[in-house]
Symmetry: C2
Subunit: 423 residues, 2 copies
């Protein structure tokens, strides 16, 4: 199935009414932005642009989709005829993946007729709200982990397909690998894994289980040591594997204290190079809290795939300009209580001073020498031109983080790391 | 693509090690359960069983999947050969969709060889953790709304495919419709929609927009009245549509106060039958808070698709019994700190007294006359036998809710509505 029915019904009924009175053909500009960053975060991270470009190319109303819409009586025949021929022919500009964003950043700008642009609202927002939420959490975790690798292992705690996108966003933001095999296959994310308690319990003894795992998967494997008694398991592990044992995993208890005990035991057995991986409901706060513990890597699940308390980025897709009766593009904005919008097509620049970001400059016209331009051409006359490798986005995220002021990395709720200046 | 790579790598590497030492062929029983209900909820709601049965039938390692696993060096050739022939041939028992569950309820029991059952961990948990989380929130919202209809409109705030499953779970738990068209097409969920601010702003005046919508979509449509000035918009709406106007939608401000003002205005204009729909970051608490307001329906988005603060159900998939060397099935359980499990295959019954649920009885053997049996046969020797229409699950949920004690409907955090008794 294509992506065209991943859409809210009102987009199609609005299209019908606008086709009927001719307004559908007015040129229009929609903008994606966040009114605020959830949870007092200091910055958001753009993710999902690549997935959106894939979905846009796939956004076609198939014969069977049209049959459903007709049978359900959702729109009239002229609208069905429009949908049958639908191909987005406009322009899309956007922040690149891995880039930071702030309240009011025009993360994406969609230009086309109202008819062609209004239909993209749901697919744009679904992808960006999910992926940006995960990326924004992942970036904080990766910063808290410092040089220690993070394995994404949250697939089981979120929708099975959302899990694949979550793994992609985590890697983009500095995670080293994922447990999700489809993310490995689809996006080239490195994959990793350890072993579950079920594998230990399957065997008649922990020793049998360790031996089987070492024989089949080699000495560099990671043995799970907390099924029965951690101290005893560590001793058994080293007796079987010797000093070449790759790693052990601890999944329960006070992880900091347990890691210290295990490190001492491993060192006492001469297994100084055996790594300690900890898992178990970790988030950016507990990762930061383990900074002084002898931990060599973290596995993160639930908190990553649920955005660590902020499962959606709250981005909106708003009409900011449209053609009037005389053919001129006019800025528009609603005046609803508590939901301010700023009308007009916008441009955005990251202002820096001495290599550190100082402001997000949002303007009503293109400007020169105000900083790094943030909107890139993604789609030109309906053709995708802005695709890039995931590794490029990962590299950009690293560079973007290095540019943010130190306050950006505070885990406490507070103001955005740089102000957004509308000029 | 099939569902087989929606899997954590460690299931495949555990399989490899267990195939090598022969333990993979031991009979095994895995159980899905929750250690606790998130957020102090009083009950959880089972959802996703139907989706799991679809995913199970689709769980095949295609040639291209095997090619990826081989190229990435994830498992060895004997394991690839096993995966190429993989078809689940065991039994699955489960709670039916719409049923309530409590801590320790054995929501799903999977019986087969270790090899065939261990591979299902991620797909089982991804589907149930997501769908049960959404259903558990939706059920509270539907109860808070009473007889007033709820429209699910959260697609834009969650992953685009998760949105379809969310709409399904919401309908199962009493929502009347969804904005998501693919959920309409795939699952037969009734669809609905109103109009966006973009449609108003597209036109040269609010009056032009209302006129276009009424002419194209008929008098029963829902006009959005908060783009500029609510009072003025309501007057314009009635002037254009007369007393036959279907509904108006308010999306901002103090919804209770605004609904009261709008109701008075509509009544004064003689539009006593025009309904008032409110939207805007509603959850079960704000819905309950609007019970006394003149509201005729709610649109719920973000809070529904994010599980209203609890985006995952925290269900786990644990080995509870497996064959020993002598061929006998033995209960097993880990002893990890703070993560208790109870070994052994289980059966479950809902005990009632005078039509009201009094306990969740979990036993180690089938029993008679202890209450309504909760585990139904879903898969027999690999063949799906437990499919049912979504309407049946929706009806079951209604009946299940009616059976729960009144304390189940408290929105405050607290203990489960009935105790789980292991006997």
């Amino acid at each position: 199935m294509g992506s065209a029915l991943l859409t809210d019904q009102y987009e199609l009924t609005m299209l019908q009414a606008a086709l009927a009175d001719g307004a559908a053909h007015r040129r229009a500009v929609f903008e994606v932005f966040a009114r605020r960053l959830p949870g007092g975060r200091r910055y958001g991270v753009v993710s999902g642009i690549g997935r959106f470009l894939d979905a846009l190319e796939d956004f076609r109303f198939e014969e069977s989709d049209l049959g459903y819409l007709r049978a359900a009586g959702i729109v009239d025949e002229p609208t069905l005829a429009f949908l049958a021929d639908y191909r987005f022919s406009g322009h899309v500009y956007g922040y690149r993946e891995g880039e930071a964003y702030f309240p009011g950043s025009p993360i994406m700008v969609v230009e086309g007729t109202f008819a062609e642009a209004v239909l993209l609202e749901t697919i744009v927002l679904s992808i960006l709200n999910h992926d940006c939420a995960i990326a924004s959490a992942a970036s904080r975790m990766a910063h808290a982990a410092g040089d220690r690798p993070l394995i994404e292992m949250g697939s089981r705690r979120t929708h099975e397909i959302a899990a694949v996108a979550a793994a992609r966003s985590a890697y983009l933001c500095g995670f080293s690998s994922t447990s999700n095999l489809r993310a490995g296959r689809m996006y080239g994310v490195p994959t990793a894994g350890t072993a579950a308690h079920a594998f230990i319990l399957l065997h008649d003894s922990e020793e049998d289980a360790f031996r089987a795992q070492l024989q089949s998967l080699g000495m560099d494997t990671t043995l799970l040591v907390d099924t029965y008694d951690v101290a005893k398991a560590v001793r058994t592990a080293v007796e079987l594997a010797g000093r070449d044992l790759g790693a052990v995993r601890i999944d329960s208890g006070d992880l900091g204290a347990a890691a210290l005990d295990v490190r001492r035991a491993l060192d006492a057995y001469g297994a100084e190079d055996t790594r300690i991986i900890v898992t178990g409901d970790l988030d950016e706060f507990s990762i930061a809290g383990l900074a002084a513990a002898p931990v060599d890597g973290y596995g993160v699940g639930t908190a990553l795939v649920t955005g660590s308390g902020c499962p959606t980025a709250n981005l909106v897709y708003k009409l900011v300009a449209r053609e009037d009766a005389s053919g001129r593009l006019q800025p528009v904005a609603k005046r609803s209580v508590g939901k301010p919008s700023k009308g007009g097509r916008k441009w955005a620049y990251r202002e820096t001073s001495g290599g550190t970001a100082t402001a997000e400059i949002v303007t009503g016209a293109p400007m020169e020498s105000v900083g790094r331009p943030l909107l890139a051409e993604l789609v030109t006359k309906g053709r995708v031109v802005g695709r890039e490798p995931l590794e490029a986005a990962r590299e950009r995220h690293r560079a973007t983080l290095a540019e943010l002021p130190p306050a950006a990395h505070s885990l406490s709720p507070g103001d955005p790391a740089v102000p957004t200046v509308f000029s």
